[in-house]
Symmetry: C2
Subunit: 418 residues, 2 copies
Amino acid sequence: MSPVSRRALVIGGLGAAGAVGAVGAGAALMTAGEAAAPFSDAVPFHGPQQAGIVTPAQDRLHFVAFDVVTKDRERLIKLLKDWTAAATRMTAGQDAGEVGAVAGIPEAPPDDTGEAIGLPPSALTLTIGFGPTLFRTADGRDRFGLAARQPSALTALPRFTGDTLDAGLSDGDIAIQACANDPQVAVHAIRNLARIGMGVVSVRWSQLGFGRTSSTSTGQATPRNLFGFKDGTRNLKAEQEDLLREHLWVQPGDGPDWMNGGSYLVTRKIRMLIETWDRSPLAEQEAIVGRHKGNGAPIGLADEFDEPDLTSVGDDGEPIMPRVAHVRLAHPDTNNGARMLRRGYNFVDGSDGLGRLNAGLFFIAYQRDPAKAFIPVQRSLAAQDELNEYIRHVSSGLFACPPGVTGAGDFWGSGLFA
Amino acid sequence: MSPVSRRALVIGGLGAAGAVGAVGAGAALMTAGEAAAPFSDAVPFHGPQQAGIVTPAQDRLHFVAFDVVTKDRERLIKLLKDWTAAATRMTAGQDAGEVGAVAGIPEAPPDDTGEAIGLPPSALTLTIGFGPTLFRTADGRDRFGLAARQPSALTALPRFTGDTLDAGLSDGDIAIQACANDPQVAVHAIRNLARIGMGVVSVRWSQLGFGRTSSTSTGQATPRNLFGFKDGTRNLKAEQEDLLREHLWVQPGDGPDWMNGGSYLVTRKIRMLIETWDRSPLAEQEAIVGRHKGNGAPIGLADEFDEPDLTSVGDDGEPIMPRVAHVRLAHPDTNNGARMLRRGYNFVDGSDGLGRLNAGLFFIAYQRDPAKAFIPVQRSLAAQDELNEYIRHVSSGLFACPPGVTGAGDFWGSGLFA
């Protein structure tokens, strides 16, 4: 049976405008030198590392965390294989299954749900991670014979000062991050993975992000978060191979071999009290963040990409960069050199029932070792950051993302279950 | 003080790629003949009708319903004037206020929140509507001296069979629909209107839609809803002037003069039980909808735009178009010629706590008279539509949308408050 290619439908059904017109969407955030073509093209699924980490951050997100509801290790392995096949197809712009949304026998449910028919691959990436609870339940039970393979880096995050976490919106056995430049493509992917997983996994929580807040490539302009500031200027970038080796990718000897070439994913849903923020004077906002709002330059400097000056002192004897500015507290120099690759998204989840928009940042960060990166940085921020007056951490997750799927026959988590 | 133009920042800061690259986003749904330029351009705010109704449906939505919390009619009128000024600016790609996000005095809060700096107008439209409760409270109190001006068409919708409405997510005194091709632009607009309204209005509920499900112009290809089907093929279109006069725009003599040239807006948040739907055979899905899933053609016909055949009978003596197919039940021939202009959006609001995605359709329809359009059609659908097995109506709203703002000095609702 020949697979139905959504791309083929696009070219056949909508004409050249479908392919040409989809190029460059959202490109107000692109720089002059950036090629527009990848915007709607496919991102290769196979490779030594998972796509969706250093891939130039796509515009839209659908993130899901699953609980595994089976006790059967073989069923779980089969699902990971089925998911890998579907992910390979969907990231290439094809239907989730071989039969497809509209072919096959009428008496059977389609093996694709159909809402992405006619849409290009849209740079879809699907990135999987395994939570601590997959290895061992809270009471120590080895659910799937994986306890001996649990990395020491993969233990529940500590509680941070001020945390107001919703347990039902936190953690999970398996997480999948779908990023794409068309939200319908990202939603379609998660929805079909959930469909395929029926009876084996159950959706624990899920989050849409409408706008990226980070750049992961030097070719991308820096976007703005819902505080109105440029965010992630100093983010790790795909082009910084030495830094990625040091700070992003798990190296041999760090822990169990199955994680070599992988990375640890931290998610934090951070509600922003935007109504309060919006009443703060511009100068106070800038002092709290440590950047000028207009062009994103660090306080006292002229250009967004100028290195923040943490040492100079003004005429009043005070540091030019305020002592508790977010930029200072999060800076590697303040955190033993700690760095992460962030790829968070803005969200609005309706209203909060108290007359306010339920809005904020879905923080996503990848790192080689959370104990040397997110955990100490967040400890410092939680204790001192004046932004805390305007934010609430409401969800948290830590997941071990294995290396990439290297080709046909390989599957998500093959090393873990080998 | 010279206004800060976000567009000027785009051209100054990001170079040609900002302007060129942003053209054509999401255009997989455009047809070959459709011009790409309007995708990021401004839609004129002023005109005899409000923009955002027959405007070619933009890709993204942020909808908000407010409660008015003041008792002071003059404060309400001042807010409507302030909102009109901000809407005029934001739809042109400018900051919400004259000072802007980054200019002005540092000791004052900015009069724009900043997250749309650098983004083009993105075809933003802002469309206002007034709910029945603005005219008269549930216990009959005339809150703002408007009771005598309440149109008879603007009374709370009846309860329909199967309704499972959440009162907190329904109705409202004032609704504003923000549509744009960049979700950050739509969110920015609603967020700034809420900011400006602080103390006068309070956010009652708010809804993001990530993907349009209707075309409102013959130049747009028909998108798909989360059942995977093309939706809105037979929708009223901007080009059908005679039909719009008959079915969409309020005409002189219909009711109070202040609504002439306006339209009535019905919103329904319709949760889709996609997990159940996804287990249904393709043939059953097609029979329930009354269309072929692939190209959207009515059952028994070849092309999406073929007129559905409601009368032909097959060899088995049964109608070729099933008796309770959604297409038949919603067809004008089955509803005394009733037609609406729909511009709904797909949504995913995370998960439902029961292992499923919380996903569906945020239905939006405009019409000349709900008593002749939405109400009878929905009564029929609620009683007979087999889709009811797969959907739940969880929120409902009816709003009177006045005619357009015709120029400087005019404001949203000027006719109502005159």
